[in-house]
């Protein structure tokens, strides 16, 4: 419950997970079914968001497949194994680590944990280096590869460098409240 209001946690649970219905469900128009029965038959294959899948799976109403980016036979695993730092994780799953951490205990796949750890370790190092060295012109291109969490780390790295420089060189202490933005009123 600690994360009830956490927007990132909410959005991580929005990621889709492939699932198969084990029972027929009445009264739901999930998939704009053309007939009026509003029924989802047993055996239907669908992609459902994690928040729904999780509860249904615990009650054994659906069976789930591991999302492609965590699958043992998937390309993602091979690519991470080859060169983790340059894999485009954002397009595969912007909440890669969060979703991984949620799904691993659910399906009891022991290989996901170490896989995430390896990926994070290698990529973290790269993120930190890039945060300190990249110029503004190249940064946007690199940022498109990062998951949400990594992008935050990247920004944290940059802001700490900026803070360090400010501390060393000195600068104005009082500043406009960040909420009001840096907009100045137009002249005249």
């Amino acid at each position: 419950m600690a994360k009830y209001y956490d927007v990132d946690d909410i959005l991580a649970e929005e990621e889709l997970v492939p699932a198969v219905f084990q029972h027929t469900a009445n009264g739901i128009g999930l998939f704009d079914s053309s007939d009026d029965t509003n029924k989802v038959e047993a055996g239907s294959k669908v992609e459902l968001p994690f928040w729904l899948v999780c509860e249904l799976y615990l009650r054994q109403l659906v069976s789930i497949r591991v999302p492609p980016c965590f699958d043992k036979e998937s390309k993602t695993r091979e690519e991470i194994g080859a060169d983790a730092a340059h894999v485009d994780l954002r397009s595969r799953c912007p909440y890669f680590y969060e979703l991984g951490c949620k799904i691993a205990p659910l399906i009891g796949d022991k290989t996901i944990g170490p896989f995430l750890l390896v990926a994070f370790r290698i990529r973290y190092k790269e993120v930190l280096i890039k945060a300190h060295t990249l110029t503004l012109a190249v940064a946007p291109k690199y940022l498109t590869l990062l998951t949400n969490e990594e992008a935050k780390l990247y920004e944290a790295g940059q802001s700490s460098i900026a803070a360090f420089k400010k501390w060393r060189m000195g600068g104005p202490r009082l500043q406009i409240a960040p909420l009001l933005g840096r907009k100045r009123k137009p002249t005249g």
């Binding site: 469900a25 739901i28 202490r173 406009i176 960040p178 909420l179 100045r184």
Partner: protein, 224 residues
């Protein structure tokens, strides 16, 4: 797909710069609530059906207990019972999905309101009671009310303590700082002088006087 709109609402929260507000999305907010009502409308008949199925099962059991029936009839009634049970399970399944969607939507709505409220609360520390226009138009009416009450509470606490809590936490090296005025403010009585604050004027002010203008973006501090 259920819960899609609610997540769009939350995404809006995330896409805003940290500490900044976006315009309150009345439209989407209402749509999500509409969706919740839809779930409720689906949920109620399903719950009724489940109740009916349960009653039927109970009746069946009672009649079995009361009357001694032949083997053949018993088998038939067993088969009927399983049919009812599967139907009930399907209804329960559907009801569960609606229930979970409701809970999810609620969480998204709550998070949206809560995270905005947090930002609004922090506003109370930087601007005195009066919101700048460009921010005020982004708030919903209840949020405006919330800000007003929060700022009032903060003020009454400050006056009770007889200590201005909104000033900078780090003690200054020099009581005076050099500032540049960014906007025409006009003649103002400060604690030690009467200053005519015109645009682009540069002057030495008492730090405590300057602080509120700087945080409102009307002045900037000049280093060195």
């Amino acid at each position: 797909m259920y819960g899609k709109k609610a997540s769009e609402l939350v995404k809006e929260c995330v896409s805003a710069e940290p500490g900044q507000l976006t315009t309150f999305n009345n439209d989407l907010f209402a749509q999500v609530i509409e969706e919740c009502n839809g779930h409720l409308l689906h949920l109620q008949p399903l719950m009724r059906k489940i109740q009916e199925h349960e009653n039927k099962l109970k009746d069946k059991r009672r009649s079995e207990d009361e009357m001694a029936i032949s083997e053949d009839e018993r088998r038939k009634s067993e088969a009927e019972k399983t049919v009812i049970q599967t139907a009930m399970k399907s209804d329960q399944f559907g009801a569960l999905i609606h229930h979970l969607s409701l809970v999810r939507n609620k969480r998204c709505l709550m998070a949206y309101v809560y995270n905005r409220a947090e930002v609004i609360k922090s506003l109370g520390w930087v601007v005195d009671c009066v919101l700048p226009e460009e921010i005020e138009e982004k708030l919903s009416s209840s949020e405006k009310e919330y800000f007003k009450n929060h700022a009032a509470t903060l003020q009454s606490y400050t006056s009770e303590l007889d200590l201005d809590l909104t000033v900078d936490m780090v003690p200054p090296k020099d009581p005076y700082i050099k500032v540049r005025v960014l906007d025409d403010i006009g003649e103002i009585v400060l604690s030690d002088q009467v200053a005519n604050l015109t645009r682009h004027a540069m002057l030495f002010l008492r730090r405590t006087d300057a602080e509120q203008y700087i945080s409102q973006g009307l002045m900037e501090e000049l280093a060195g």
